[in-house]
């Protein structure tokens, strides 16, 4: 009896030490779940969810401080992957009237006064220019977040929807004839 208690006690102690050591030695830096959630978000950095960017929203989601249906650019697809990853119920988009049309910001250069306000607002540094110099948007880097539009004192930034062309066109999902269910 004592032998059993003793040996089990010794084993328990050893394993405890081993676990304690490995939790220090193999400690994971950062928050892997937040990283994963962040990778599922569209990285528009638009702040429409109420958080100042995609990463803060991801962290709030992990902490359970935010609903999963706040990302307007991500839409239903993002809601369903978030629901799956976080084990929550699928919800309809919080702002049901919000529609996201992929667009690019375009600065109408003849009106630009070079105030640099849009440059400071851009979350991905996609606007180049300097004080009293004309500014322009780097098309490839623009996420279409619209954050540069309100600060512009002369309203010279247009959001132009991205037009589909033969290189970006995708095949539509075939529609089954009515009444067919699989």
């Amino acid at each position: 009896m004592t032998m059993t208690i003793l040996s089990l006690g010794v084993l328990a102690g050893l394993f405890g030490l081993l676990l304690g050591y490995s939790s220090v030695r193999f400690r994971v830096e950062g928050d892997p779940l937040a990283d994963k959630i962040d990778s599922l978000l569209p990285q528009t950095q638009c702040g429409q969810c109420g958080f100042p960017g995609c990463r803060p929203y991801a962290e709030a989601l992990v902490a359970g401080e935010a609903e999963i249906n706040l990302c307007v650019p991500g839409g239903e697809d993002t809601i369903s992957v978030l629901a799956e990853t976080l084990g929550r119920e699928v919800l309809p988009l919080s702002d049901e009237h919000a529609t996201h049309v992929p667009a690019l910001a375009v600065i109408i250069e003849e009106y630009c006064i070079g105030c640099t306000k849009c440059i400071q607002a851009c979350p991905v540094d996609a606007i180049v220019g300097a004080a009293k110099q004309m500014h322009t948007v780097i098309e490839q880097e623009c996420t279409g977040c619209e954050l540069c539009v309100p600060p512009c004192p002369v309203d010279c930034i247009d959001m132009r929807p991205i037009k589909a062309d033969t290189s970006t066109w995708a095949w539509p999902q075939p529609q089954l004839a009515s009444g067919v269910k699989n």
């Binding site: 978000l41 990285q43 540094d125 062309d165």
Partner: protein, 510 residues
């Protein structure tokens, strides 16, 4: 004759080829307007090098390229560029593409052509460059730049396979080319063999084209490097991988190329285009196209300039029948539906098929999948179409990829045999483009994340720098205050001294 092999699956389809092979190839002549798209190949589009109002000569380059996977575009006839604008493209989307519109002057005046030195004395890389400059792409339908295919990238190519199988129903342009112009194909084969430094060349032709086999065989008898191989008629034996399997018994690896087996496969019409480009300095400005189907009165093969509107070809083939209702570029199995017959002929247009309602009557009656497994039996790539169909329907992109969707050659066998008439290939095309879209989005969002993080770091750095600067200034100010005090003290001391000395000097006076 070498021993042949078989590939899994496949179908015996009714050919419908004789309806368009009764008459010789007709030369279409110069249309009223030429609509030459700048993007006619797989890869980046060409950039326009001419301006509105400019006069161009036949074979003059009108679109140049800088990217590797791209070839230039040439003027199909002499005339005036009247506009460069968007025009419906020969593309499944029917979306507009950039097109150079030329009004021909009717003179068909060539750019000055200089005779080339003997081909066999040219370096293979020079040869490839010439083939590129002539704008040559694969004419079997995929329009992949030929010069890239002709680069063996360090491998010793054993065999160049010229594909004359033409297994898809209705299409007969390669058949007519082989019958009427076998020397062009063989001269082209010579050049391609030299560019690849390949051992031998096999021209593979389906057994149902005896005239083509005879006409090529008559020229091949004296050439020890050339074999004409007749192969059994089974769809899709003209697919690159299937043809390699039939001729060699080897499997091209998944996601690989015939090059991995030291083989190169090219279309017979491409070989003829290579011959024209290097022996006659004619860039790719025309091609043979089969105009056929139950919707045209007099189906036939027509040699048309690139940029000729499809409607002109319909007129040359006797016009539409009363019940014609659908235009397809390519064959009935793999072709794409065109929205308008104003669409111009492009380098990839091997066939213009006009259908009537009877040809596609089954499409309207799609029923649920009954899990019969017929699609699995006919798949030449040994995929599970039924499984892929479920995945595609539920947008399970991961499932699609683990079940090798990208090995699907979209031959359409599964759609044809499906007793429920499910458009399976449409589902697979949809799945593929969803995966590509997702990949592009991931690349874009990763970049946006990197840039955001870099920005946050930069802002923090700037903040820290500012703070440091303020601290330094405050220190300086504090130091300045000390110095002031010191100076004040010194001033006070001097003043006191002065006062002392004046009082002492005053003293003797008193």
């Amino acid at each position: 004759m070498a021993r042949l092999h078989t590939f899994p699956g496949g179908l015996k389809l009714e050919g419908h080829k004789t309806i368009s092979t009764g008459q010789p190839i007709l030369k279409a002549g110069i249309p009223e307007r030429l609509f030459v798209p700048l993007n006619q190949h797989i890869g980046s589009p060409a950039e326009c090098t001419v301006e509105k109002g400019e006069h161009v000569l036949k074979s003059q380059m009108i679109g140049s390229v800088t990217d590797y996977v791209a070839v230039p575009v040439h003027a199909p006839s002499s005339g005036t560029v009247i506009d460069i604008q968007k025009f419906p493209a020969a593309h499944a989307s029917g979306l507009p593409n950039d097109v150079v519109i030329i009004e021909p002057d009717g003179k068909d005046e060539w750019l000055e052509r200089k005779p080339l030195p003997d081909i066999t004395e040219l370096d293979p890389s020079e040869l490839r460059n010439m083939i590129r400059c002539a704008g040559i792409v694969g004419l079997g339908g995929a329009a992949f730049p030929t010069f890239i295919k002709l680069n063996p990238v360090g491998r010793q190519i054993s065999t160049l396979i010229l594909n004359g199988a033409e297994c898809e129903p209705y299409i007969s342009c390669d058949d007519m080319l082989m019958r009427e112009r076998p020397h062009e194909i063989i001269d082209g084969a010579k050049i391609m063999r030299h560019a690849l430094n390949a051992g031998k060349v096999i021209i593979a032709i389906e057994e149902n084209k005896p005239e083509a086999i005879d006409s090529l065989q008559a020229l091949a008898d004296d050439l020890d490097w050339l074999d004409i191989q007749s192969i059994p008629v089974i769809y899709p034996t003209g697919g690159e991988r299937q043809l390699v399997k039939v001729l060699t018994g080897k499997d091209v690896p998944s996601q690989g190329l015939p090059l991995d087996l030291d083989l190169v496969v090219s279309n017979v019409a491409t070989a003829a285009a290579v011959h024209r480009a290097l022996d006659h300095q004619q860039p790719l400005i025309s091609r043979i196209i089969t105009v056929t189907g139950s919707g045209v009165r007099s189906p036939r093969n027509i040699e048309a300039l690139i940029g000729t509107p499809m409607s002109d070809l319909i007129d040359l083939a006797g016009g539409y029948t009363e019940d014609a209702d659908r235009l397809i570029m390519g064959g009935p199995m793999m072709g794409i539906t065109l929205k308008t017959d104003a669409t111009p002929v492009v380098k990839a247009s091997n066939c213009l098929l006009v259908q009537t309602p009877a040809d596609h009557a089954t499409e309207a009656i799609t029923r649920p999948c009954i899990r019969c497994g017929e699609c699995v039996k006919v798949c030449p790539v040994k995929l599970l179409p039924q499984q892929l169909y479920w995945f595609s329907q539920s947008k399970n992109l991961e499932g699609l990829q683990t079940h090798n969707l990208f090995d699907c050659i979209e031959c359409g066998c599964c759609s044809v045999v499906c007793p429920s008439h499910i458009p399976l290939v449409q589902y697979f095309r949809y799945g593929k483009s969803e995966i590509w879209k997702k990949e592009q989005e991931t690349v874009k969002s990763d970049r946006a994340r990197e840039r955001t993080e870099a920005r946050i770091q930069r802002l923090e750095r700037v903040k820290a720098e500012k703070k440091a600067l303020h601290a330094a200034r405050a220190k300086k100010n504090a130091a300045g205050a000390d110095r002031k005090k010191e100076i004040q003290a010194a001033v006070a001391r001097t003043k006191a001294k002065k006062a002392e000395s004046t009082s002492s000097t005053e003293n003797p006076d008193t």
